[in-house]
């Protein structure tokens, strides 16, 4: 089984050279992005055992910092990344200090409430565009260096692809490095027997904060990537509970605490969502859903064509319940059993 990750990474590296159309590249870029997000989340959630539904905050920090500076000064993430990471660290500490004192469900709920509070603030904050958000100006690069400076490459997706790949690999490396380090061992202690660890003199607060800061940092990098890639930042798609849930969900689905868990989650869910949507679009669009009519046949027709939508979430919700019921270690947990 050892060869599988290597083969996977190699396949990822050559993928855009084989599939040269922008759309297939886009799907994998998004999968890589969410795999990185899920892995970053996993540092806090899987290793340190602190389940957070508030990670979109750090994603938003990265996205908005990048967008704001680029719109105001024409400085891309290439230059502004230290600012984003600084804000991210401050936010992590500001969130961690009060909430890490809470145990169990209180912590999880606190992360939800903080996320909602942040969303309210961001979606009402004029300087950040409030509900409208910020659009990053399109820049037609005048040469390779100029393109790099602005992180805009006209039509080519390759720089973004390999950027996402690098981010993905870096996050995996960070996760694995922490897991194997002394810090990782401490996290196991934190996760399994927090009280015992405390009584042995382990400063649990400091270690939890460290986990959060690292997790937040990589999440922020992903946010920066997103802003430069999509060129439009608004609250719902960056700093909302929905995004937090998606990130956590990908890790949960794939396998919390396992290195490749979130990756598996991302590479199953993202392409699947795209395909389902394209399939259903076509059907709804071609009128099979029937915006009119009543009766059994019409209802069946309507449901068969995807009904009101969100069929993918329906399936995922059901899957999570089943997984939690039968295999709480996520999809990867099924495979692990075979080892």
């Amino acid at each position: 089984m050892k060869w599988l990750p290597v083969a996977f990474l190699v396949a990822l590296a050559v993928y855009p050279l084989v599939f040269t159309q922008p759309f297939p590249q886009h799907v994998v870029i998004m999968a890589l992005l969410f795999a990185a997000l899920g892995t970053a989340w996993n540092i806090l959630g899987g290793l340190a055992g602190q389940v957070s539904f508030g990670h979109a905050l750090y994603f938003g920090v990265g996205a908005y910092t990048t967008a704001w500076f680029y719109k105001a000064f024409g400085l891309s993430a290439l230059v502004t990344w230290p600012v984003a990471l600084a804000i991210s660290t401050l936010a992590a500490v500001a969130v961690g200090l009060p909430t890490f004192r809470l145990r169990g469900h209180y912590f999880v709920l606190a992360s939800v409430f903080i996320m909602q509070a942040v969303y309210i603030v961001v979606s009402n904050w004029g300087a950040l565009g409030a509900a409208i958000g910020l659009e990053l100006p399109v820049h037609r690069p005048t040469g390779a260096l100029d393109a790099l400076w602005h992180l805009q490459f006209h039509l080519s997706k390759l720089p973004f692809y390999y950027g996402a790949l690098a981010l993905f690999v870096a996050t995996l490396a960070a996760f694995e490095w922490i897991r194997r380090s002394r810090l990782g061992l401490l996290f196991v202690a934190l996760r399994e027997e927090e009280d015992a660890a405390r009584s042995l003199g382990v400063d649990t607060m400091r270690h939890k904060l460290l986990a959060l800061i690292v997790s937040a940092a990589f999440t922020t990098l992903c946010g920066m990537f997103y802003a430069q890639y999509v060129l439009y930042v608004e609250p719902v798609s960056t700093t909302s509970l929905t995004i937090s849930v998606e990130i956590a969900f990908i890790a949960i689905f794939g396998g919390v605490g396992l290195l490749w868990g979130p990756t598996l989650g991302a590479f199953v869910i993202i392409p699947l969502t795209e395909l389902l949507r394209a399939y259903l679009s076509g059907h709804i669009g071609l009128g099979l859903s029937g915006t009119r009519g009543s009766g059994i046949m019409a209802t069946l027709n309507y449901l068969a064509a995807g009904g009101g939508g969100q069929v993918d979430i329906l399936l995922y919700g059901l899957l999570i319940v089943l997984i939690a019921r039968f295999q709480p270690r996520g999809v990867l947990g099924f495979f692990r059993k075979l080892d």
Partner: protein
């Protein structure tokens, strides 16, 4: 250890197949238009009906119909050998990054000639950025954010009036009313759903209220998925605005007016952006409390008297969807006809020729089903002849009351208190 290998190989194969598939086969002598709408999510119903209007328009163009519209009697686009228009449809679900991805796929894989959409301005923005990069024209019939045309893109065309135009219409009308009925107005209230669409109205109002004679402005916004508006209305009431501008979704509109009545909050006039204050559901749910509300809309059934094709189109739309045509679908219909008109005049189907043809568009309002004076784009791609009309509900029916040339009834101002109806 064969199983993991097999699973992995199968997954990889399925994945690759899925990635390469999709991408409609391009046929000769057809014109492909890629349209993106929210077909799932909160705006799904509006998105679907708006899509139906576009489909109707292109079916009329492609077939032969006895309707007083250009291209109705001919089949396809005459100057392009009768080439038929094929719609390629995709759902963006309200997500900006999807809009961009869909635009790119439609351009690079489906090889569309024109992009159309996207209902949500937040999706139209990145999608049209992609279109601009590829030089493919992007036409919007219903995304009202002024920011879209302020970007100065060369390939972006907005047929609809923007939130700025709507605010200007409101203020002009309010001034007219205040003058004619000799009512002094001091404070303006704005209540809006806190999203791209609602915020544009608020921003436009903030810019303009002073120059139209108001001294004070109070703005209340609420989250998109609110279930209850009491605290908002309570706050609004305490600021005693004389006139209220509102941008709400259908259900919020009902909730809001119920709260106004429950808390005895009676502004002299309520003016709503969009169709939510004129739907049959609204009137049914509120009964006599629906009366006197004004709506700024871009279609009303009374237009049948002023636009020769409106009756036929209305009837056909109702046949297809079981619903009367309204604001958003009507605008998309007009945008589609604008596209057909440009395709006819374009020297070829190359992107820059279509863009050039769009830029030279000059359609008379009488040839559309919309209240617009016409369709003519400025250098930023905004239709400078786009106007709306203001309707008012009286005795459970809505009638155009402004501008005068499209008015069917006299307006009632100020509105009587709730308990006096």
């Amino acid at each position: 250890m064969k199983r993991p290998f097999q699973i992995a190989a199968l997954a990889a194969a399925a994945f690759s197949a899925a990635m390469v598939s999709g991408g409609a086969l391009a046929q000769a002598n057809e014109i492909r238009i890629g349209i993106m709408m929210p077909l799932s999510g909160p705006a799904a119903r509006s998105g679907q009906e708006t899509l139906e209007a576009a489909k109707l328009a292109y079916d009329i163009v492609n077939g032969s119909h006895d309707i007083p519209l250009p291209f109705a009697k001919t089949r396809g686009i005459p100057s392009k050998n009768g080439a038929k228009i094929r719609l390629i449809i995709e759902d963006h679900g309200g997500r900006p990054e999807r809009g961009a991805a869909i635009a790119e796929r439609m351009i690079t894989q489906d090889k569309v000639h024109i992009l159309q959409g996207a209902f949500h301005s937040a999706v139209a923005a990145p999608a049209s950025q992609v279109a601009e990069k590829y030089g493919i024209p992007f036409v919007t019939g219903g995304s009202e954010s002024p920011a879209l045309t302020e970007r100065g893109f060369k390939t972006f065309f907005s047929v609809t009036p923007t939130a700025n135009d709507i605010a200007r219409d409101f203020f002009t009308f309010i001034q007219d009313m205040a003058r004619e009925k000799n009512v002094k107005l001091r404070t303006l209230g704005v209540i809006h759903v806190n999203d791209n669409w609602g915020s544009s109205l608020a921003q436009a109002s903030e810019r303009m209220y002073r120059q139209y004679g108001f001294e004070k402005l109070t703005t209340i916004s609420y989250g998109a998925q609110v279930s209850d508006l009491r605290s908002e209305v309570l706050k609004l009431k305490s600021d005693t605005p004389d006139v209220l501008l509102q941008a709400s979704f259908d259900s919020d509109a009902i909730l809001a007016v119920r709260s106004y009545q429950a808390l005895a909050f009676t502004p002299k006039a309520i003016l709503a952006m969009g169709a939510s204050f004129a739907t049959p559901d609204f009137i049914k749910a509120l009964g006599k409390n629906a009366d006197y509300a004004f709506s700024h809309t871009k279609f009303d059934a009374a237009l049948i008297q002023k636009r020769k094709a409106a009756g036929d189109v209305s009837r056909m739309f109702e046949q297809r969807t079981g619903k009367a045509i309204w604001d958003a679908p009507a605008r998309e219909f007009t945008a589609s006809m604008t596209i057909a008109d440009a395709l006819q005049r374009a020297r070829s189907l190359a992107p820059k020729d279509i863009v050039a043809a769009l830029r030279e568009t000059n359609i008379d309002g009488a040839d559309t089903i919309s209240p617009y004076k016409g369709v003519k784009f400025n250098e930023q791609g905004q239709n400078i002849l786009a106007t709306g009309l203001i309707t008012q509900i009286q005795s459970g029916q809505h009638y155009p009351v402004w501008p005068k040339e499209l008015a069917v009834k006299e307006y009632v101002f100020p509105a009587p208190a709730w308990d006096k109806r």
